[in-house]
């Protein structure tokens, strides 16, 4: 699929076009240090198409030699990173995997929500989910120019601040090599 898409820009978060996957647990739970501590628990994934919300924990379990389908007592999808945080905060799940950028942004906007959770583990950095365009159109170029200029105008900076982003960077495909490697590892 990536052969039919052009990379337009990559969002810049915390000064880098990178983000992490966070393993979160309820705030009062102090024992968990990794996903392996959640054996037999109820776990919340965000989305089966999400790197941070599904692929990363699956890879971590596989690397540890665990069968993800039997490791947890029960697992479910919330179909949204924020909802993973809500599920863990409410106690519906005892652990969850979530986009680090989402958790950090909500920690600024809704600290009462993220305050009910604790980040137990942070994954290595991965390329921030990019903005892409269908290959062969000039839409991507126009969009790239506009997004790259956002950080140079007051309205653009205000919009970026509301998104908790520093700006956009041109980026390149090597940023996402780690995700691709995870995907390949899980497929083997």
């Amino acid at each position: 699929m990536k052969d039919s898409l052009d990379l337009v820009v990559v969002p810049v978060f915390a000064g880098q076009p990178l983000y992490r996957s966070y393993l979160i647990v309820p705030a009062g739970e102090r024992a968990t240090r990794s996903i392996l501590d959640l054996r037999g628990k109820v776990f919340a994934f965000s989305d089966p198409d999400s790197n941070s919300g599904w692929l990363v924990p699956q890879v971590e379990l596989k690397r540890a030699g665990e069968d993800a389908s039997r490791f947890f007592k029960k697992s479910f999808y919330t179909w949204g990173h924020r909802k993973v945080i809500e599920a863990v905060a409410a106690g519906l799940a005892q652990g969850g995997s979530v986009d680090g950028y989402i958790w950090d942004s909500l920690a600024r906007l809704h600290p009462e929500l993220t305050g009910a959770t604790r980040v137990a583990w942070r994954s290595p950095t991965y390329g921030f989910p990019p903005i892409v365009a269908r290959r062969g159109t000039d839409v991507g170029e126009t969009l790239r120019h506009a997004l790259l200029q956002m950080s140079h105008t007051p309205p653009g900076r205000a919009l970026l601040a509301s998104l908790n982003l520093d700006g956009f960077a041109p980026g390149d495909a090597t940023l996402f090599a780690g995700i691709e490697a995870n995907w390949r590892y899980l497929g083997t």
Binding site: V42, K74, Y77, A90, G91, L92
Partner: protein, 371 residues
């Protein structure tokens, strides 16, 4: 103390107490009925909610979507004031699939064990009909609604748990409304009851006042008016009036007897005096009669004796009048009476050399001096 209280106060007080007691009993019954209806309405409302939720939760159970079930369970609880309500979706094995209170009812926990209530556990037996059960400690009310697949298979059960304190505001609403109505009714009925009681006791009090006058006042002075009627008060009043009449009659009789006694005493005294006078008087009259019987021819002496005799007869008649049963019979004037006057003044007239012209032509009455 109550025994010394006048019926003028006791009767209105008793009526007021009866009114208050009646109002309290009626208000209590209305509050209880209102609370029961509110409780029933609450259950019916919850059952409707349960039916709707059960249908909505069916896809979540079918697709094993815990998060979807959780969001659906939270939907009716998003309003404020939903504390004390919990919705729990159980799978076909009775394990918690999702709950609105996940910390209390964790996913895959055995619900019956989590609740620890045999009555609730009995209610959770698989079935296709809904059930309502109050928890053993009475704090919670549980409603069970089966979640059925299209073919009627039981996929799971929706349990609604309500803290019964949620009914307290409804109870207080009903109680406040009823209390307000009861107070309004009391405000109207109490004065009427007091007035009615007072009017009922009024004739009795009046009768009691009249009775207290008996003995302190003369019966003639006791004039009491009572309302006409044949009730107990009317009968008492009639008896009272009869008693007063008899007292008046007795008083009159007593007065008459006293007067008779006085007259009898006077009669006895008069009879004594008359007897004492009549004895010598009879002797003197007998002496005159004896003197005449011996045949004295002296006309002057006869004239004097006649004068004395008439005087004695008059004394006898007057004395007889003193007797109680004697009647004073006046004696008619006779020609002899005038002749007696002529005799008495003749000596004086002769001494003074007066000439007396005498003309006595009075007719003699039909009178027997011997009587």
């Amino acid at each position: 103390m109550l025994a010394n209280l006048s019926y003028r106060h006791k009767t209105p007080l008793a009526m007021s107490l009866v009114i208050v007691a009646t109002a309290a009993v009626v208000a209590g019954a209305l509050v209880w009925q209102g609370y029961t209806q509110a409780h029933l309405s609450f259950i019916q409302h919850s059952q409707v909610l349960g039916k709707t939720l059960a249908r909505t939760l069916r896809p979540a159970l079918l697709h094993d979507d815990v998060w979807q079930a959780y969001e659906i369970l939270l939907t009716p609880l998003e309003r404020s004031g939903d504390a004390g309500r919990a919705l729990i979706l159980l799978d076909a094995r009775g394990q918690v699939f999702a709950a609105s209170e996940p910390r209390q009812f964790a996913v895959l926990d055995n619900f019956s064990q989590a609740v620890g209530d045999p009555a609730v556990a009995a209610m959770l037996r698989p079935g296709k009909v809904q059930a309502v059960q109050e928890g053993g400690d009475g704090r919670y009310l549980y409603l069970r609604m089966p979640v059925l697949a299209e073919d009627g298979t039981v996929l799971g059960q929706l349990v609604q748990r309500y803290d019964q304190s949620l009914l307290a505001p409804r109870f207080f609403d009903v109680a406040a409304g009823t209390l307000t109505a009861a107070l309004a009714a009391l405000a109207l009925l109490l004065p009427l009851g007091w007035l009615a009681g007072k009017r009922l006791a009024e004739p009795l009090s009046h009768l009691a006042e009249c009775l207290t006058r008996v003995g302190r006042e003369v019966p003639d002075a006791i004039h009491c008016q009572f309302p006409h009627g044949r009730d107990e008060i009317g009968q008492l009043a009639e008896c009272f009036q009869g008693m007063v009449k008899e007292l008046v009659a007795a008083q009159a009789l007593e007065k008459h007897l006293a007067q008779s006694d006085r007259l009898a005493a006077v009669g006895r005294l008069s009879a004594g005096i008359a007897h004492e006078i009549n004895n010598p008087l009879g002797g003197m009259l007998n002496a005159i009669s004896n003197y005449r019987r011996r045949g004295s021819a002296d006309p002057h002496a006869e004239k004097t004796l006649a004068l004395i005799e008439r005087g004695l007869v008059q004394i006898r008649d007057t004395v007889s009048a003193l007797l109680v049963e004697a009647k004073l019979e006046s004696r008619a004037l006779t020609p002899d009476d005038l002749e007696d006057v002529r005799t008495l003044i003749a000596a004086d007239a002769q001494a003074k050399h007066l000439r007396l012209d005498w003309d006595n032509r009075i007719a003699s009455p039909d009178f027997d001096t011997s009587k």
